[in-house]
């Protein structure tokens, strides 16, 4: 084990936070209190936690439709996050983005994204700006295994490599692209093999092992910052929930899901920390309670916030025009 325990504990806390937020979101959605599409990150927490533990506030990420984990790991504020998911005026995007479009540019979160693979180009552009400004930062594009077969992913990895941009492409292979199993949409066994075709290093890691994710990405980020260009990291993990909340999941069995739950990333880390007496049940309870309190406050903030005014529909389309053409 290379990672020190205090770092591992921090990543554990991030994973717990993601899990508890997602569990709360799930419940609120089931109760029809929260609108929209919800794509749960439960089961994949080690990827966001491990990668983002390497990042500072000026490092940038692009996220996906399944983005809550990345946002939380990059430090997003839960009150603004929940208010956005509720479609309230106080939300991150004034209620105009929702779950799939949360962004906080001050924290380097260049947006969750509703279009699969699109973020790989945008993160590369952010990396281009880092390079042109000669800054010592990195951009990370989180994508799923479903993104690796779409054109912009290929275009971006190739050009980012040609220009040696400080960008890391993190592929969360959670076993499914929508409903389609990875083996039914990919002929190769490891997505990292693609890296050779782009002339960059590629790694496949156990995406449920936060330490492994952290260590591999630490090296990749260091290389990127030293001008050695991008790296492709495939994190093999598993989506505990369906593609979206409410997905009937005819494409897999409960037994399969249960089998993967035995490899739950949080339990794996918890065991290490318990075995080494960094954690005990009392500490776990106190961590959980603290986060749950923060979540309750955030949910209450969201509940008590007002809906956006109708006038808001016309704002923020342009920097200098307020669209009122269709105002009745």
């Amino acid at each position: 084990m290379n990672t020190n325990y205090s770092d591992l504990l921090e990543m554990y806390k991030t994973m717990i936070k993601i899990r508890l937020v997602e569990t709360k979101v799930m419940k609120l959605f089931e109760q029809s209190e929260m609108p929209g599409f919800i794509h749960s990150y439960i089961g994949e927490e080690a990827v966001a936690a491990g990668i983002c533990f390497n990042l500072n506030q000026k490092d940038m990420i692009t996220s996906t439709h399944r983005g809550h984990g990345h946002l939380i790991a990059k430090g997003c504020k839960l009150d603004l996050f929940f208010a956005e998911l509720y479609g309230k005026s106080t939300g991150y995007c004034k209620g105009k983005g929702g779950s799939m479009h949360v962004a906080d540019l001050d924290l380097g979160i260049l947006g969750a994204n509703g279009v699969v693979g699109a973020g790989s180009a945008i993160a590369s552009g952010a990396a281009l700006s880092i390079k042109m400004k000669n800054e010592n930062n990195v951009a990370v594009a989180f994508v799923g295994d479903g993104a690796v077969n779409i054109g912009p992913f290929h275009e971006s990895l190739n050009l980012a490599s040609v220009w040696a941009l400080p960008v890391i492409f993190v592929v969360e292979n959670n076993g499914f692209a929508d409903f389609i199993r990875t083996e039914d949409h990919l002929k190769i066994d490891k997505i990292s093999k693609r890296a050779a075709g782009y002339g960059m290093p590629g790694h496949t890691v156990d995406g449920n092992n936060v330490e492994e994710v952290y260590e591999i990405s630490k090296d990749a980020i260091l290389n990127a910052k030293n001008g050695k260009g991008p790296t492709l990291i495939e994190c093999v993990t598993y989506r505990h929930r369906g593609h979206y909340e409410g997905d009937p999941q005819p494409y897999r069995t409960k037994e399969e899901v249960d089998e993967w739950k035995k490899k739950d990333p949080i339990k794996l880390t918890e065991k290490i920390l318990l075995d080494n007496k960094i954690l005990n049940n009392e500490i776990i309870n106190s961590i959980t309670n603290e986060i749950n309190n923060e979540i309750e406050d955030a949910v209450n903030f969201a509940r008590n916030s007002s809906e956006p005014e109708l006038e808001e529909s016309f704002k923020d389309i342009y920097t200098d025009l307020v669209e009122r053409d269709n105002l009745v």
């Binding site: 540019l105 509703g114 180009a121 945008i122 552009g125 952010a126 700006s129 042109m132 389309i317 342009y318």
Partner: protein, 324 residues
């Protein structure tokens, strides 16, 4: 005044913008070699390859990388060699660049210009000849500019680069060699102003891009041969468009013909016509006419291409019809 070609005017605007503002850079296929049609000539020599970036043939990456850098404070000018190829980058233009500011609640700013080579009369056939402005006028979040003269090419490209929003900028490839007068000094204007290129009292012809010179030629002919006094309005910015100038002219002339090189069906002329009907219906003496590309792909053979695309003769004939 200096007399330079349309391509040279584009080149001048890029050069001036890059000199003025270090955050402006060019990105696209072959831009470091002057571009396929010469608009970026000598820019790499003057500003270096960091700011004049040759890319692979990867339109999605060209636009996506531009968006990412624009989010971080740069002002990229991306080139789509032919507008037809923007189809490959459509998600980045329409779902990303156009929507980010809105989806993020006003936090993002995307000062991006997408220069698109547009239109026919090149014998380039159906995949290299289209004018696709109405794909983009449909999308909230984008500004659309189409220039028809060297002077407007220079000033509106600079205005577009100064604008803080994504701008789709249409350059008529068949005009690249066309020389005309350009003011030596650039005066900044916000996008959204039309220009009355010729004053008249009998009919308003609304045009943009390649049909501007065609309309002016038609106007001269119509006056000399038929004593019809045409007012020619070059819309220049298709969104936001200059409703005031258009409606004032229509209220004076009471007749309207709209001409653009894009297909007539669902062309932007239909939107302009509807707005004129909504605002000037009782004044109009005749139904609005449109002179556009026929609703066919642009054919290769010269006689077919000439048959399908609008020209000054068609503008003249359709205008005369409105006075019979």
């Amino acid at each position: 005044m200096i007399k330079i070609s349309y391509a040279k005017a584009i080149n001048l605007a890029l050069k001036e913008s890059m000199k003025d503002n270090k955050s402006v850079f060019c990105i696209g296929e072959d831009v470091g070699f002057g571009g396929a049609y010469g608009a970026t000539q000598n820019l790499k020599e003057e500003f270096g390859h960091d700011r004049v970036r040759n890319t692979p043939i990867s339109e999605s990456a060209i636009i996506g990388f531009s968006i990412g850098s624009a989010l971080c404070g740069f002002r990229p000018v991306a080139e789509m060699m032919h507008m037809d190829f923007i189809a490959i980058a459509m998600d980045q233009v329409v779902n990303q660049a156009a929507k980010m500011r809105y989806m993020f609640g006003g936090k993002a700013k995307i000062p991006l210009v997408i220069r698109c080579g547009v239109g026919g009369y090149l014998n380039a056939a159906a995949q290299h000849s289209q004018s696709l402005e109405s794909w983009f006028t449909h999308i909230p979040g984008l500004k659309i500019v189409a220039v028809g003269t060297p002077s407007d090419a220079r000033s509106l490209l600079r205005d577009s680069i100064e604008d803080d929003n994504p701008v789709v900028f249409l350059e008529s490839l068949a005009l690249y060699d066309k020389k005309d007068e350009v003011p030596e000094e650039y005066i900044k204007n916000p996008l959204g102003k039309a220009e009355i290129k010729k004053k008249g009292k009998d009919i308003t012809i609304i045009c943009w891009g390649y049909t501007v010179y065609q309309s002016l030629e038609a106007a001269t002919n119509l006056f000399e041969k038929y004593n019809i006094d045409v007012e020619v309005i070059d819309l220049k910015t298709l969104y936001p468009w200059d409703r005031t100038t258009v409606f004032e002219s229509v209220k004076k002339t009471k007749k309207v013909l709209i001409t653009h090189q894009a297909y007539e069906r669902n062309g932007y002329g239909a939107e302009i016509a509807t707005e004129i009907y909504n605002n000037c219906f009782n004044i109009l003496l005749k139904p609005i006419k449109r002179v556009c590309s026929l609703n066919t792909p642009v054919p290769f053979a010269k006689n077919l291409e000439n048959y399908v695309l609008p020209n000054s003769e068609k503008i003249i004939n359709n205008t005369r019809d409105m006075f019979i």
